[in-house]
Symmetry: C2
Subunit: 346 residues, 2 copies
């Protein structure tokens, strides 16, 4: 099966997308015919040879020598004076953050009729912006942590008592995130977050809260869940730690939780996923407080596709690739224009 | 000022988009340097000469002889053996329904860095799917009509007492919409709606409800409202009536309502618009029940841009074109890859 790993993007998470792509390559190259397409920060696409899939290729701009690609109906293509070609296959969208997770890439792939693993546009919008994730949780009856939204044009008072966690509303990977324990740290935390977004979300920071991650996907008529992971405890992941996290490829062990809690986590996952995330392998990060499950965030393109949470990752991707949603295009008949033209006698 | 009217699309509203574009051309051609770009149902773009802006051009497929265009960074472009060219300007997105209003075209224009009048991707997702419009109203504290969602895989019982109105969740322009007054009409109404979407929304049909339309846009630091229109009363607009409606160009008169109600409508509009619809001229359709304002629907690309609700439509479009939101692209520094490469000593 041919699979196109699409990575890069004009995103603060550009570099971790490269790391993700290299990790996923290692996990899939024995079972798939892989192609690699890099989206540069200026939105030019390049075809990357397998042996050039190293982070240095991109940081040294060596990729600019590779074949440029563009979108065509049903494929990526190139045409030069004496050659042209097409890359046809299912895309694995590995662009984290802006472009990849905000609905842009999904819209492009849909428009050009290229099948892809990854969130559709609606799913992207609801998971990329933390305000809309809260709305979704509310709508679906899933618990969520209370929050306040601040805008960089408004005053800087918060009502939630300290300590709080301050995040840009539209970024992942801990970029621009701060924990505020003393009131005199708030201004700086807001300034940091406003560097990345004009809106920030403030939530209570719950010391020692139990955190569990669960990934899953819909294929062959059913939802399939990963094991539940209790992520390594640290105050929170800074970007450099998270960066290393995106290169994870060793299988982890199931968290030591009761069957009852596992089922609760799976049920919450199912409620969030169903009717919106079909076509994607997502990871939901939950908090558990007094035995109740709270949604923390949805990662619709988790770092290195959360490969380390599945036993047979190649099989997961193959199943998913064979179960992608089909988008129907409307048929245009010109029935109304014809009937009106006739009525007008012209 | 150069303005590119983009119309067509692979949408059930393809034909009314053509009608809208022809109407807007008539209203703007004296004050703008206009270009016309047609998106065919197969997603090919064509440059249409001004004198060919007639519905028959498209229903007879004459447009297939025109210059094909593609997206490039900052423009639409073409290249042939001995010629190439670019069309640079602000796009007026006039693609109604799928493609234009579902977040696809906005994503393409953002990706290729082309400025445009029309809803951004988030705004499109929230206005195109009636379920998300209800969520938005709920979140923002705007009244909405109660509703039920049915899925074509589930049973067909409804709880809302008759009469009800049945709509596909994701279409505009009255396509697939039925009023059900007797229970034995429900099955057929659902079948009709399921032709267009796998989800339908059922709402109470309120006989004789007062309906008011209000358009507006953000420019030069402030929201600008149109007059309030009380649309012509009919049970509801079928597609053919709506079709004619998209060619409206005569100014209508302000509805006979109190100043108090007008302000209520404007306040509801402002609450919905702010923070989401900047860059677009939208029309909100409201119901008024016992002097309270209820959101019925949001048209983020109203038929013929609701030109008939504004005194000086050219001026409206010019102001809006000069106040479009700017999307910032993340700068990629390769700081982390560089520091990790150094740490590894390679």
């Amino acid at each position: 099966m041919k699979l196109i790993i699409l990575f890069g993007g004009a995103s603060f998470e550009h570099e971790i997308s490269i790391v993700s792509a290299i990790t996923v390559k290692e996990k899939l190259q024995n079972n798939f015919e892989l192609e690699y397409i890099f989206c540069d920060q200026d939105h030019t696409f390049y075809q990357v040879p397998a042996d050039k899939m190293k982070s240095k290729t991109f940081s040294t701009a060596e990729h600019k020598k590779f074949q440029k690609l563009q979108f065509s109906q049903g494929c990526f293509s190139f045409s030069k004076m004496f050659s042209k070609g097409e890359i046809i296959g299912t895309v694995l969208n590995l662009i984290h953050g802006a472009d990849g997770e905000d609905g842009t890439i999904s819209s492009l792939l849909d428009f050009y009729n290229i099948s892809y693993i990854g969130p559709r546009t609606d799913a992207s919008v609801f998971s990329y912006d933390k305000r809309y994730t809260k709305m979704l949780a509310k709508e679906k009856g899933i618990n969520y942590i209370k929050y306040e939204i601040l805008n960089n044009k408004e005053q800087r008072d918060i009502e939630i008592p300290l300590p709080v966690i301050v995040k840009p509303v539209r970024l992942g990977s801990s970029i621009g995130v701060s924990i505020v324990k003393e009131m005199d740290e708030l201004d700086y935390a807001l300034d940091v977050a406003y560097e990345f977004d004009s809106n920030v979300i403030v939530e209570p920071f719950i010391e020692g809260v139990k955190e569990y991650n669960l990934a899953g996907y819909f294929a062959n008529g059913a939802l399939h869940y990963s094991i539940v992971e209790e992520p390594q405890k640290q105050e929170f992941l800074d970007f450099e730690k998270k960066y290393m996290d995106f290169s994870r490829s060793s299988h982890v062990s199931q968290a030591d939780i009761s069957d009852e809690l596992e089922i609760k986590l799976q049920n919450a996952f199912k409620t969030i996923y169903t009717g919106m995330f079909e076509g994607a392998l997502i990871r939901c990060d939950f908090f558990v407080i007094e035995n109740e499950v709270y949604l923390n965030e949805i990662n619709p393109i988790p770092g290195s596709m959360a490969n380390y949470l599945f036993d047979d990752f190649s099989n997961v991707i193959e199943d998913l690739a064979n179960s992608l949603p089909q988008k129907k295009r409307a048929q245009v008949t010109y029935e109304y224009i014809d009937s009106i033209s006739k009525a007008k006698g012209k």
